[in-house]
C-alpha cells in the first residue's frame, strides 16, 4: 500500500536537509559570524546582513524539550492505526530545536530532558524522515 501520510515537499532551502536525511545524516545550518546553529533552514542567517549559513552535520543527539501524545487521530482515516503516537520538540546538542516522532519508547514513558538520538525511516523512495529514540548508553 502506498504511503498515505503528509510528505515534505523539498524546496530550495530544505533540499539539502531532505537529501541528507535520505543518506541517514542529520543536517542543520550554522552561521559563521555568530557560531550559532539554527533550524528550520533559511536562506539568510537571522540577525545578520544577508549572511549565508553553512550546512553542517549534527551529532543527532539531543533532549526532549516538549512533547505531545496524539490520542485522537486527525485526519481520522490517516492516523487511526497510528494512535497513540508521540511528537517531540527536540533540543539538539548544537542548541537548535527540531521536531520529530519519538519512537522506541512507550508514549507514557517519555519525560522532560530525556536523552534521545536520531534514527531514520525511509518512508518512500524519495523521502526519509528523522525520528528520535532513547539514547543508547555510551
Amino acid at each position: 500500500m502506498s504511503y498515505d501520510k503528509p510528505l515534505p515537499v523539498p524546496d530550495p532551502e530544505s533540499r539539502p536537509f531532505w537529501e541528507a536525511a535520505k543518506a541517514h545524516r542529520l543536517m542543520v545550518q550554522r552561521c559563521a559570524s555568530t557560531g550559532e546553529y539554527h533550524f528550520p533552514p533559511t536562506t539568510f542567517c537571522p540577525g545578520t546582513a544577508l549572511e549565508r549559513p553553512q550546512w553542517v552535520e549534527a551529532s543527532g543527539r539531543g533532549k526532549v524539550f516538549s512533547w505531545i501524545v496524539v490520542r485522537h487521530p486527525t485526519p481520522k482515516d490517516v492516523y487511526a492505526d497510528e494512535v497513540p503516537y508521540a511528537v517531540g520538540l527536540i533540543e539538539l546538542e548544537e542548541g537548535c530545536r527540531m521536531t520529530g516522532n519519538i519512537v522506541g519508547v512507550g508514549v507514557d514513558e517519555i519525560f522532560a530532558d530525556m536523552l534521545v538520538q536520531v534514527a531514520f525511516r525511509d518512508v518512500t523512495d524519495e523521502i526519509t524522515l528523522p525520528v528520535f529514540e532513547p539514547a543508547k548508553a555510551s
Binding site: K5, P6, P10, H38, R71, V87
Partner: protein
C-alpha cells in the same frame, strides 16, 4: 499614552446565529452581521466607506461583502491574512484608517463556516510545503496538537496541575448557560472536565474550543459621531498588536519561539497598558481569547494579572466568575459560546459596556479588556463606556 485614546468608538454591533451547519455561504453570513451592525449604529449602507476582515482559513473578502451589501464607496476594503491574533488588530486598524482620512465609518467583521466548511481542528493537505514540511510529516497537524506542545512545556516549568483549566472550562460554560447565542448551554462540572476524552495529551476534549459557523461585525467611527448614534458609545481606550522574537513562518510554527511557557502577551503587555494609561487592576471584565483553556492562563500571566506560573491558582476560588474580582468570558467564550475566531469576544465586550448583557451583565462594568491570539503574535484592546 496612545495618541488616539478615546478618539474612536464602537457604535454598532451585529452577528448571525452561531451554528454547526449554516447551509449558507460565508459571504452571506458576513453580509448579515455587517448590515446588522450598520443598522445598530443608526447608519445607512451609503455611510460606510471602509470594511476590514481577517481571513486565515475560511472567510469572505471585504470587497465581496461590500458588493453583496451594495455599499457604493467601499474605499478602504482590506483583508488581513491573519488568524485569531488579528481580531483586535482590525479594529485598531480601523481607527488608524479613519485618523488618516482613508475612511469615516468602518465595518470590521469575521465570518466563517468553521464547522461545516474548513475545519481548523481537521487535517491539512498531504503535501507539506514551507514550514509545514517540518511538522505535518510527523503527524503534528492540528491546532490542538500545536497548543498541546506549549502546554506541556509550561507543565515542565511550573507543574502538571490541571485544576485551573478545569475551573476555566466550568466557569465559561456557566456563563454560556445564560447566553441565548451560545452553542453549548448544558452545565458541566469539574468531573465532566477530567472525564472528557483525551484528544492530544495533555489536552482533553473540554480544553478545546468549539468549531462554529457564523459571523460578527462591529462599526467603528469617531467618538464625536458616535455620541449622536443610538447606543452609548464604547470608546477604544487603547490597544496593542505584536509578539516577540522568532514569531515563525505561520501561526502553527513555534519551533524557534524562545520559551513556550509564555506567549506573545508577555511582549505586548507594556504597550497595551501604556496605550490607555491604566493597569490590570483597573479592568472590570475581560474577554480573553480561549481557543484552549490554557490560552487563558498565558494571556493573564503575560499581561501581568498574575506572575508567570501562577495563573492556575489565580483563576480559582471564584475570581473569574461573574461575581468575582475579574469576570472572564461572560458570554461563554470560544469554549462554550462559539468560535468566530475571537470576534465574538468584541461583541460581548460592547454589550457588557452598554449594560445590555441581561442575566450575565457585570454590574457597573466600565472597562473591558479583549484579547486575541494564543501563540507567537497576538492583539488586545481596552474598551470603556
Amino acid at each position: 499614552m496612545w495618541a488616539l485614546r478615546d478618539k474612536y468608538a464602537i457604535a454598532g454591533i451585529g452577528c448571525t446565529d452561531f451554528t454547526r451547519a449554516s447551509g449558507r455561504t460565508v459571504r452571506s453570513l458576513a453580509s448579515e452581521a455587517c448590515a446588522k451592525a450598520v443598522a445598530d449604529a443608526g447608519l445607512k449602507l451609503d455611510d460606510i466607506d471602509g470594511i476590514i476582515s481577517f481571513n486565515f482559513n475560511d472567510s469572505a473578502p471585504a470587497m465581496g461583502v461590500a458588493t453583496e451589501l451594495g455599499i457604493p464607496r467601499a474605499n478602504y476594503a482590506v483583508d488581513f491574512q491573519s488568524g485569531g491574533n488579528a481580531a483586535n488588530l482590525i479594529t485598531l486598524t480601523a481607527t488608524a484608517a479613519i485618523e488618516a482620512g482613508l475612511a469615516k465609518n468602518v465595518l470590521c467583521f469575521r465570518a466563517m463556516n468553521g464547522r461545516s466548511g474548513f475545519r481548523l481542528g481537521g487535517g491539512r493537505d498531504m503535501s507539506a510545503h514551507g514550514i509545514t514540511q517540518y511538522t505535518a510529516p510527523f503527524g503534528w497537524i492540528t491546532y490542538p496538537q500545536a497548543m498541546a506542545m506549549w502546554r506541556r512545556r509550561y507543565m515542565i516549568e511550573y507543574g502538571a496541575d490541571d485544576e485551573g483549566l478545569a475551573e476555566i472550562a466550568v466557569t465559561f460554560r456557566d456563563n454560556a448557560v445564560l447566553n441565548p447565542r451560545a452553542m453549548q448551554r448544558t452545565p458541566i462540572t469539574k468531573d465532566d472536565y477530567y472525564n472528557s476524552r483525551p484528544i492530544v495529551d495533555p489536552f482533553r476534549m473540554l480544553d478545546i474550543c468549539l468549531e462554529s459557523d457564523g459571523a460578527c461585525a462591529v462599526l467603528i467611527t469617531s467618538a464625536e459621531r458616535a455620541k449622536d448614534m443610538p447606543h452609548k458609545p464604547v470608546y477604544i481606550m487603547g490597544g496593542a498588536y505584536g509578539g516577540g522574537p522568532n514569531q515563525g513562518d505561520d501561526l502553527f510554527d513555534a519551533i524557534r519561539w524562545p520559551d513556550h511557557s509564555h506567549n506573545a502577551f508577555k511582549y505586548l503587555a507594556d504597550d497595551l497598558w501604556g496605550s490607555a494609561g491604566i493597569r490590570p487592576g483597573d479592568v472590570d471584565v475581560a474577554q480573553v481569547y480561549d481557543c484552549f483553556t490554557y490560552s487563558v492562563l498565558m494571556a493573564l500571566e503575560g499581561l501581568g494579572f498574575c506572575k508567570e506560573g501562577e495563573g492556575g491558582d489565580f483563576v480559582q476560588g471564584g475570581r473569574i466568575a461573574r461575581t468575582g474580582a475579574l469576570p472572564l468570558n461572560t458570554a461563554g467564550g470560544l469554549l462554550s459560546e462559539a468560535y468566530i475566531h475571537g470576534f465574538n469576544h468584541v461583541i460581548e465586550a460592547v454589550e457588557q459596556l452598554r449594560g445590555v448583557s441581561g442575566p450575565r451583565q457585570i454590574k457597573d462594568a466600565e472597562i473591558c479588556l479583549t484579547t486575541a491570539g494564543a501563540m507567537t503574535c497576538a492583539s488586545a484592546m481596552l474598551l470603556r463606556n
